[in-house]
């Protein structure tokens, strides 16, 4: 006996992960699987720019707010494209493009309250933007001048984390701390929800869901009722590996096994991402966390500037997703419904040009760190052994000229 009702069976639209060289049907099925979110997908703005309603996650939004979201996405995309270009010019050693994921990141970023904390992976330039981090401050890591330059506590935005999954446990601990600090589930004098309650949101990818640390984060957050939103950007690819290398099921269903909500949202629909993340963060602030959100989106560019996607994915797939562009649908909706003047779009365009210009400027002017920096902040307290190593390097550097002249030899 083995009936699908009894437990969650693999979706018909997810091809068997062990499929050898795929058949034509499977290729098409695969295309559909990565381009359609399925029945449970939460969407409020269609790719064609039509506003649709949703029974659970609808949202009232002012035209001004929608224009602001549009502006955010345009600026974020410009930052991404400009940084990509800077890498091509040799000004950056590496860049990690977010192209295509603007809606997921701006929707999530704008759903946060100032007191909420975010823990990013390494692709969350859009969330960083929403947290008020100057895009120029993102570049040091990719230029090789620092490992992260902003103050994570001041900006409430953690440093980029490269080891897949690590930040999920760190975010879980931070969220546990919010609860231990009594910042969850409070009410004010009139019995209304206190508006200084806090939540945490952690970002990771579809590939990351396979890591033990992500599972342990799910376990801890559930057991400690942590006010934590697990925000998984399923951009369909982990470098060259499609999502079915990681799971039989749609990733939002992973939450079922832990006993907390899992929601799949159209990650290219900034409205839906905003609505679902606002709801999830509020659930957490009220003490009903954790919550898993799978933002169903697509990595339109290479994994990083060193990657060559043509080796592992079909251009048809990329073409499919171009039709679902997160910015275009908002532009269409704003324009069609007369919610934005032509001048508005021009202003945003001009603003993004300025931003790009500033970014180029800032990038080439990032000072190279001095050699002493190698030893700075390894420890918070004195370490004589390390001090000796620093002195050794310093005296060596001072002596370099002589060595070069080779006089001694």
């Amino acid at each position: 006996m083995s009936s699908p009702e009894r437990w969650t069976a693999a979706r018909p639209d997810t091809p068997a992960a062990t499929a050898a060289t795929p058949t034509a049907e499977q290729v098409i099925a695969g295309l559909r699987a990565t381009s359609e979110g399925g029945a449970d997908l939460v969407q409020l703005l269609t790719p064609e720019g039509e506003r649709v309603t949703h029974p659970d996650f609808d949202i009232d939004i002012e035209p001004a707010q929608l224009r602001a979201l549009y502006r955010d996405m345009v600026l974020v995309r410009r930052v991404d494209r400009e940084s990509n270009a800077l890498q091509r010019k040799g000004e950056l050693g590496l860049w990690v493009p977010l192209l295509g994921q603007e809606a997921a990141q701006v929707g999530a970023g704008r759903a946060m309250k100032p007191q909420d904390m975010a823990f990013p992976s390494y692709r969350e330039h859009g969330v960083a933007f929403c947290r008020g981090i100057d895009p120029a401050d993102l570049l040091g890591t990719f230029r090789g001048t620092d490992h992260g330059s902003w103050d994570p506590l001041e900006k409430k935005f953690g440093l980029y984390t490269i080891v897949i999954g690590n930040q999920v446990l760190n975010a879980t601990g931070y969220a546990m701390g919010q609860r231990f600090d009594g910042k969850v589930g409070n009410t004010d004098g009139n019995g209304n929800h206190a508006d200084d309650d806090e939540a945490t949101i952690v970002f990771f990818g579809d590939g990351a869901t396979s890591q033990g640390d992500v599972h342990e984060g799910f376990v801890w957050a559930a057991v400690y009722d942590a006010p934590l939103v697990f925000f998984c950007q399923n951009n369909q690819w982990a470098i060259s590996e499609p999502t079915e290398r990681q799971s039989r099921l749609p990733l939002y269903q992973r939450a079922r096994g832990y006993g907390f909500p899992g929601v799949r949202v159209d990650g290219n629909d900034v409205l839906a991402c905003l609505a679902v993340t606002q709801w999830a963060l509020e659930e957490c602030r009220r003490g009903n966390g954790p919550v898993l959100i799978e933002a169903f989106t697509y990595r339109m560019d290479a994994h990083t500037t060193t990657d060559d996607p043509s080796r592992y994915r079909l251009s048809d797939e990329v073409e499919e997703w171009k039709l679902k562009d997160p910015i275009e649908r908002v532009r269409a909706y704003l324009a069609r419904n007369g919610l934005a003047e032509h001048s508005f779009f021009e202003e945003v365009q001009a603003e993004s040009d300025e931003l790009a210009e500033r970014l180029r400027e800032a990038c080439v002017n990032i000072p190279n760190p001095p050699p002493e920096r190698i030893f700075a902040n390894v420890y918070a307290e004195p370490n004589p052994v390390l001090d000796a190593e620093r002195e050794e390097l310093m005296s060596y550097l001072a002596s370099l000229e002589d060595v070069h002249s080779g006089g001694e030899h």
Binding site: L153, V163, N170, G173, W220, A380
Partner: protein, 339 residues
Amino acid sequence: MAAPTLEPTAKAAKPQTITMAKALNAGLRAAMEADPKVLIMGEDVGKLGGVFRITDGLQKDFGEHRVLDTPLAESGIIGTAIGLAIRGFRPVCEIQFDGFIFPAFDQIVSQLAKLHYRSQGKLRVPIVVRVPFGGGIGSVEHHSESPESYFAHTAGLRVVSCSNPVDAYWMIQQAITSDDPILFFEPKRQYYSSKAELDTSATPQPLHTSRVLRTGTHATLVAYGPSVKVCLDSAAAAAEDGIELEVIDLRTLSPLDLGPVYDSVRKTGRLVAVSESPMEASLNSEIATRVSQECFYSLQAPVLRVNGFDTPYPPSKLEEDFLPDLDRVLYTVDRSLAW
């Protein structure tokens, strides 16, 4: 035990005799009373008080939000402790046995050790990871290991080990107040056998300093944790044969405080380094290398090492031959003297 002769407690008011286990428990309690941000996390540290009872009674007195019985996963323990530290807490994590720290290795090496550096000092992760370590307890696999060298090799971490109740009491508190992450290695087989008089009004010596426990002229023994007692016993036995051995307790494994060792070797000309850990690329290798450099002209024999062998920890019926003991230490001292 050397403890009673230790300086700090010499001027003891009404000193009480306590075990290392009790000393650690008292030290943890004092730290939790001193700072409400101090948390204890780990497997079975709550109601049970830990399998060694080091945290006995703390959950009862400080509550479930200060003493956390966590889910069973070490990466989760360290990974969430890091988040709690970023939030402003000072977690003290217990790893139940030395052999079970490895699931947490990635969080320790990739995050715990690097966050302060990565953030240019903006993030502090003042976490103490308590590890009952070493062999000689007749237990099964993974319960008798000495993994300290892995962490001494890892930049960004501090590593210390106590060898007696008095140090245990003070060092755990000093470690908890440190703003750097610290691996705290406890010689588990001495939890209840090691007793000493503790004067809580004494002034402890700084955490990251080693200490001469016994002075001698013929050769120097350097050790830490469980091997310190072995060295003291060896020195006592050698003395009966007229051999005066100087014994140094390292106490701090990273950063090393080798000044007293250099001074001693310049005097004795001979050094034997003793540790239960495997030998290859270990702390004893580092000690031997540095002493060979610093005391190049004083050494009358090469630095000799007495270690556990480069094998997995053997079945416990064999640990007597595996672990450095008085006989093997004196045998090696003889080799050094005969060089």
